[in-house]
Structure formats: structure tokens, C-alpha cells
């Protein structure tokens, strides 16, 4: 017996389709408005001011008399709003010049994304700043207050207090930096090694490549749960290996993987390295394949050995591919919330938390909303400053602007 009935399917499908339809309608409305605004722009500055003031006046009137009106339902309010909009656009059109603005086209194309990003990113970010100045938590969810003092308290406890019971901000920060460095180093070396091995004509190359991408191809949630099972003290693969007579004879013993703080961190590193090498391998392999063999042939004539070739031909020519990938890999490792949370949950005693997992837990396992909002802002500022310094030091992100 399965619980998915055709009734559930149809009702959920209707909900979703209605949503998409309303997005499309909003899209059309937005595009129509932008089109009018740019197709017959105001004739001069004076007209522009008149039109602007008219818009502001209509919005204010609507907001004061129509929106809070309890006598009208939402549909009627929306209808009035649309009618006002159409009337305004009519006036705008009549007053406008017949020479369309050249800016119309790009802004027409940009408008939906701008609105989307404003609603989905800018507004939540601003709301986050607001939350950082409240004392909202599980106990004060209906009675929270917004004040400067609350904000100061929150930011102070981010830097001096603990996230839950044990870890302080500086511990978690240093652990995050250690985590990122270790992982990226192993990702790049491992990926480079495998790519160099694969970059030659050989049998089974496709098979090797497919098998080696598996850790990346598997849904990360499942991979993390599988890895967690492997680090189980009694039933996991690692301890099974370490309990074998062969291992015991060289002095190795099973390890308390998930209950010992240090070994838990090691387990997480092993897991994330396993997960992250395929990406680097594929990127580097692609880069290696685009290096012309004439460079190598020419250098051989001059007597270069393979180490020399690697340092002076391969590495420099790989740089345009390596740099964005290392940046991407670093950001992904820094943000590896999935891996940390699903394999250890930050335990034991938050000794395996990195910044982002600490944030997630503060907000959703400990319900310290105000604190978590401040915490999130602090992490963002750290990342932002780091990026600024990095850009300054490496001479700019020219590629991004082009």
C-alpha cells in the first residue's frame, strides 16, 4: 500500500501550478510597466519630477486608505491597485516623449531578476540585520524586543560567549581555517595526482574516470550517511579493518571515531577529502587535455625532465583553470554544512563544528534567533573582508567584469 493517492497528486500539482502561474503573471505585469516607463520617458526634467511625485502620491494614498481598509478583501484591494497602476501608466504614456530610451531593453531584461533578488536576498539580509538587534529566542518568540542594547548584547556574546555550551567563536574560527586549508590542500594534490595518471592513452580510461567521480555524483546526503555508518565504532568499515589481526600486529587499534574530538575531526576530513577529490580531478584533467603537446616536445628537445616540465609548463598553463576551481573548492569547503552536520552534528561537544554548522545549530537546534542573526552577520563580514584582501593582493577580478 502506498500513501501517494491521485488526490494528493492532483491537489499538490494544482497548488504548484497556481504559484507558477502567478509568478508568470507578475512577470508580465512587471515587464509591461518597465516597457511603458522606458518606451515613452518624460520629456524633460520637469515632467520627470511631476510623474515621480504623482507616483509617490498614488502609493501613499493607496497605502493609507486602501490597504489597511478592513472593509475590502484582498482581491478588491488588488483590483484597485491594478486600476490605479493602469491609470497612472496611461497618464505617464500621454505625457511622455515619443523617443524611446535606449536603456529600456537591458532594464526590461533585468527587471525580473532584480525583483527576485531584492525579495529573496536583499530583504532577508536586511531582516537578518534587524533580527541581530533583537533578543528573539524560543522563549521570547512573541515578546521579543528590538533595541540597540539587544544588538550590543548579541554581538558581544558572539565574540565572548559560547554558541551552545562549550565552543567559543575563536575556537570555531580557527578550526574552520584549519579545516579549509587541510581539505583544499588534499583536494588539489589528490585531484592533480589522479588527473596526471589519467592524462594518457590507456585502456579502461573511461571506466576509471566514471568510478572515480562516484563520490561526487552520489547525492551528498546519502554519501554523508553512508560515511557516518562507516565510522561507527562497532560496525563500521574502518574499525573492522583496524580490528583485523594484521592491523593489531603492527600496533593499530580500533579508534573511537565519532566520540573522540580529534578523531572525529579526522573522520570529517577523510570524508570531505573523499567527497571533494573527484571535482578537482575532473577540472584538472580537462585543463591538462587542453595543453598542447608541442610544449612538451619542444622542452624535451632542450633536455627537460618530467619534474621540470611539470613546474614550468603544466602548472603555469593550468593556472587559468586551477584558480577559479581552487576558489570554488575553498568556498564549498568553508560552507560544508552538510558534511559536518550529517556526519558528526558538530559533536562531540561542538568540537567538530565549523562556523557555518555552528550557526545552523545556534539557530535551529538551540533556537537562539537573535544571537544567530548576529553570528551570521559576523561570519559574513569575515568572509567579505577576506575576499577584499584577497582581491587586493591578487590584483583584481578582471575576469568577472568582462
Amino acid at each position: 500500500m502506498i500513501s501517494l493517492t491521485s488526490q494528493i497528486m492532483s491537489s499538490s500539482l494544482v497548488t504548484v501550478l497556481r504559484f507558477v502561474l502567478s509568478i508568470v503573471l507578475a512577470w508580465l505585469l512587471l515587464e509591461g510597466v518597465i516597457y511603458v516607463l522606458f518606451h515613452r520617458p518624460p520629456r524633460n526634467v520637469g515632467m520627470a519630477l511631476i510623474v515621480l511625485l504623482l507616483a509617490v502620491a498614488l502609493i501613499v494614498l493607496f497605502g493609507r486608505y486602501v490597504w489597511p481598509n478592513k472593509g475590502l478583501d484582498t482581491l478588491k484591494k488588488a483590483a484597485i491597485g491594478v486600476a490605479l497602476l493602469i491609470a497612472y501608466l496611461g497618464i505617464y504614456w500621454v505625457l511622455g516623449s515619443s523617443k524611446a530610451s535606449k536603456l529600456g531593453m537591458p532594464y526590461l531584461l533585468l527587471a525580473p531578476a532584480v525583483v527576485g533578488i531584492a525579495a529573496l536576498i536583499v530583504y532577508p539580509f536586511a531582516y537578518n540585520v534587524y533580527l541581530a538587534f533583537t533578543n528573539m529566542s524560543m522563549t521570547t518568540i512573541r515578546t521579543y524586543t528590538f533595541s540597540l542594547q539587544n544588538g550590543i548584547n548579541n554581538f558581544k556574546s558572539v565574540f565572548t560567549g559560547v554558541v551552545a555550551h562549550d565552543a567559543t567563536f575563536w575556537q570555531v574560527l580557527s578550526r574552520t581555517i584549519l579545516w579549509t586549508v587541510i581539505n583544499v590542500v588534499f583536494h588539489v594534490t589528490g585531484g592533480m595526482a589522479l588527473a596526471l595518471l589519467l592524462n594518457r592513452p590507456m585502456r579502461f580510461k573511461g571506466l576509471y574516470r566514471t568510478l572515480l567521480i562516484l563520490p561526487w555524483a552520489i547525492p551528498q546526503t546519502i554519501a554523508c550517511m553512508a560515511l557516518r555508518a562507516e565510522f561507527n565504532q562497532n560496525y563500521g568499515f574502518f574499525n573492522a579493518l583496524l580490528s583485523m589481526p594484521l592491523a593489531r600486529s603492527i600496533g593499530l587499534r580500533p579508534v573511537n571515531w565519532l566520540t573522540d574530538p580529534v578523531w572525529a575531526f579526522v573522520a570529517l576530513c577523510i570524508s570531505n577529502i573523499w567527497l571533494g577529490i573527484p571535482f578537482m580531478m575532473v577540472i584538472i584533467l580537462g585543463g591538462l587535455q587542453s595543453i598542447s603537446k608541442e610544449f612538451y616536445e619542444a622542452s624535451e628537445i632542450d633536455g627537460a625532465n618530467s619534474t621540470h616540465q611539470f613546474r614550468h609548463i603544466t602548472l603555469p598553463l593550468l593556472r587559468p583553470v586551477l584558480t577559479p576551481s581552487i576558489i570554488l573548492g575553498t568556498v564549498w569547503t568553508f560552507n560544508a554544512l552538510n558534511v559536518i552536520y550529517l556526519i558528526t552534528g558538530g559533536n562531540p561537544q561542538e568540537k567538530t563544528d565549523i562556523l557555518v554548522s555552528s550557526l545552523y545549530r545556534a539557530a535551529f537546534d538551540f533556537y537562539r534567533y537573535g544571537f544567530a542573526a548576529a553570528f551570521g552577520l559576523v561570519i559574513f563580514l569575515f568572509l567579505f573582508l577576506f575576499a577584499l584582501v584577497y582581491i587586493r593582493v591578487t590584483g583584481g577580478l578582471k575576469a568577472a567584469y568582462e
Binding site: I2, S12, P215, G287, S306, P320, Y401
Partner: protein
């Protein structure tokens, strides 16, 4: 220029070197595949011995009972299987997220790629900045906002949450692809009299269908197996996506490892195949910034 072939020296690799290389690669493959094969073996274990330190790939008394339980429910306790319900929820939410991401992002990417307008450079920097927002940072304000709008535990709430990440990312990827389409094609069309809009529909859209498909696929795959955001927003079982559903197998005191593994295998197989099939494009999409031309 002949590209892609290694140097003359490696063409003459000694047999010893070749054997060593194959050996290393085989070991690497075993390391890559082993945890996966373990999940498969756990899924095949009979129900009375879910946990054991047995390392064999096909366990003794291998059985497909776990798969049956996951797919069709438990006839003994008369509990129906929610597996298809979870998959259906995931499918709806993920398809809608990917669609909305495309609707909002595709025209913007074209604008960034083809036009110079006031605010273009700050706009690109802003997009870059959005990628620097730490994971989960916007989840908290979104959670509160959705709670206030009574959208928690609904499809719409999760779709909105997923769209937060899919829109800027889609713009970035699509812009990269549009950058690689030479502008001469549109100019030629415009000399022939088509407007910008005409050029968009008749030339750019057909040419960019592969990139639109890739952006759609990428958004689809990243929201399909997402757990941590869904866990915050969806709270009641009928709305669960499959990652949340699977975690119900991992109870507080007794994890139904067999069913957990069976469900994992069934979901992972199509997802992995999809990923492997599209991996070439994904990689080129991710590194567009670095390789020119």
C-alpha cells in the same frame, strides 16, 4: 595545434610503469566505490541482522525484503509506504524551483552579457557577493519571514527558500554561456532588420537551449537531495521530501538501517546516473570564468 595528446615520451611508457599506474588507479577506484557498495550490501541484509561487522559485498542470505518494505509498506503493521509521496513532493518542489530560477535568471544573464548599462559592474560584483553569503545565513531570516507569512510546512515556502540560491547562481552560469556565443550572429540578424527582441527569440534562445537546460539541471540536482533547509521549513510528515523521509527511518533508538539503505540505493541510482550523464557540461559551466574562447 594538436591538442590533448600527451608527450611523445609517455607514449612509450614502459610496461612496468603502465602496470603501476593501473594498480594505483584500481586502488583509487576501490576507495571511491567502497562506501557505496557498503550501502548496497546493507540494503540486502535480512532484517534480523541489520548491523554486523560482516564486510562481504553480498551478505549471506541476501534478500530484497528491505526494498519491498520501503516501496510498498509493511503488511504486518499495515503501515503504508510514504516513499512515493516523498519522491512526489521532492519532484514538484525541485521542478518548480528550477523553473522559477530560469524564468528570473535567463533574461538578466542576457542583459549582463550583451549590454553596457549603468550599474552593470556593481551588479556583477553584487552577484559575486551573494555567493559569499555563508551557508545557512539567510535561512534564519527566511524562516522567520515564512513563519510570519504562514508559509512554513508548505510547498511554496520551500520553493521560495530554494529559489534564494538558484537565482544568482543561474544568472552567473547563463551569463558565462551567453558570453561564449559570438555577437556577430545577432548583429547580422539586426542588419537584416530584426529588432533586439526578435534577435533574442530567433537566434539567442535556440542557441542557448543547451545552457538553459544545464542551468535547469544544476538547480534541479542541487535542490533534489537537499536536507538541511528542508528540515527547517517542512515540519509534518505528509510534506516531507525524500531526504527528510529517509531520516524518519533513523529513529532515536533503533535505526532501520536496512530500509534506510534500500531507500538510499533507489534514490541514488537515478540521481547518480543523471549526474554522470551531465558531468561534462557541469564542469565547463563551473569554470567558465577561467578558460576563455
Amino acid at each position: 595545434m594538436k591538442l590533448g595528446k600527451p608527450s611523445a615520451r609517455t607514449r612509450g611508457d614502459s610496461p612496468l610503469k603502465r602496470t603501476l599506474i593501473h594498480l594505483v588507479l584500481i586502488i583509487a577506484c576501490i576507495i571511491a566505490v567502497y562506501p557505496v557498495s557498503r550501502v548496497v550490501s546493507i540494503s540486502l541484509r535480512p532484517g534480523d541482522r541489520p548491523l554486523s561487522s560482516d564486510l562481504s559485498i553480498i551478505p549471506k542470505n541476501a534478500t530484497l525484503k528491505n526494498y519491498q518494505l520501503v516501496l510498498f509498506g509493511d503488511p504486518v503493521t499495515k503501515r503504508a509506504s510514504d516513499f512515493f509521496l516523498w519522491l512526489w513532493n521532492s519532484l514538484l518542489i525541485t521542478l518548480t524551483t528550477a523553473t522559477i530560477g530560469l524564468i528570473l535568471a535567463s533574461t538578466a544573464a542576457y542583459a549582463f552579457s550583451r549590454f553596457k548599462f549603468p550599474g552593470r559592474a556593481p551588479g556583477l560584483i553584487f552577484l559575486l557577493t551573494t555567493q559569499m553569503i555563508p551557508a545557512g545565513m539567510l535561512l534564519l531570516p527566511l524562516f522567520r519571514m515564512l513563519a510570519n507569512l504562514k508559509l512554513l510546512n508548505t510547498y511554496l515556502g520551500l520553493i521560495i527558500a530554494y529559489s534564494v540560491t538558484s537565482v544568482p547562481f543561474s544568472i552567473w552560469i547563463l551569463k558565462g554561456y551567453y558570453d561564449t556565443i559570438p555577437i556577430d550572429l545577432e548583429e547580422a540578424a539586426r542588419i537584416d532588420g530584426t529588432s533586439h527582441v526578435g534577435a533574442f527569440y530567433r537566434i539567442i534562445l535556440p542557441l542557448s537551449t543547451p545552457s538553459l537546460a544545464i542551468a535547469f539541471l544544476f538547480n534541479f540536482m542541487s535542490s533534489w537531495s537537499e536536507y538541511l533547509v528542508a528540515r527547517v521549513i517542512l515540519q509534518k510528515a505528509p510534506m516531507y521530501t525524500w531526504p527528510l523521509g529517509m531520516w524518519t527511518f533513523a529513529g532515536q533508538f533503533n535505526t532501520a538501517y536496512g530500509r534506510f539503505a534500500a531507500a538510499s540505493v533507489m534514490v541514488a541510482v537515478p540521481a547518480t546516473i543523471l549526474f554522470l550523464w551531465s558531468s561534462k557540461w557541469l564542469v565547463s559551466g563551473l569554470t567558465l570564468g577561467g578558460v576563455k574562447g
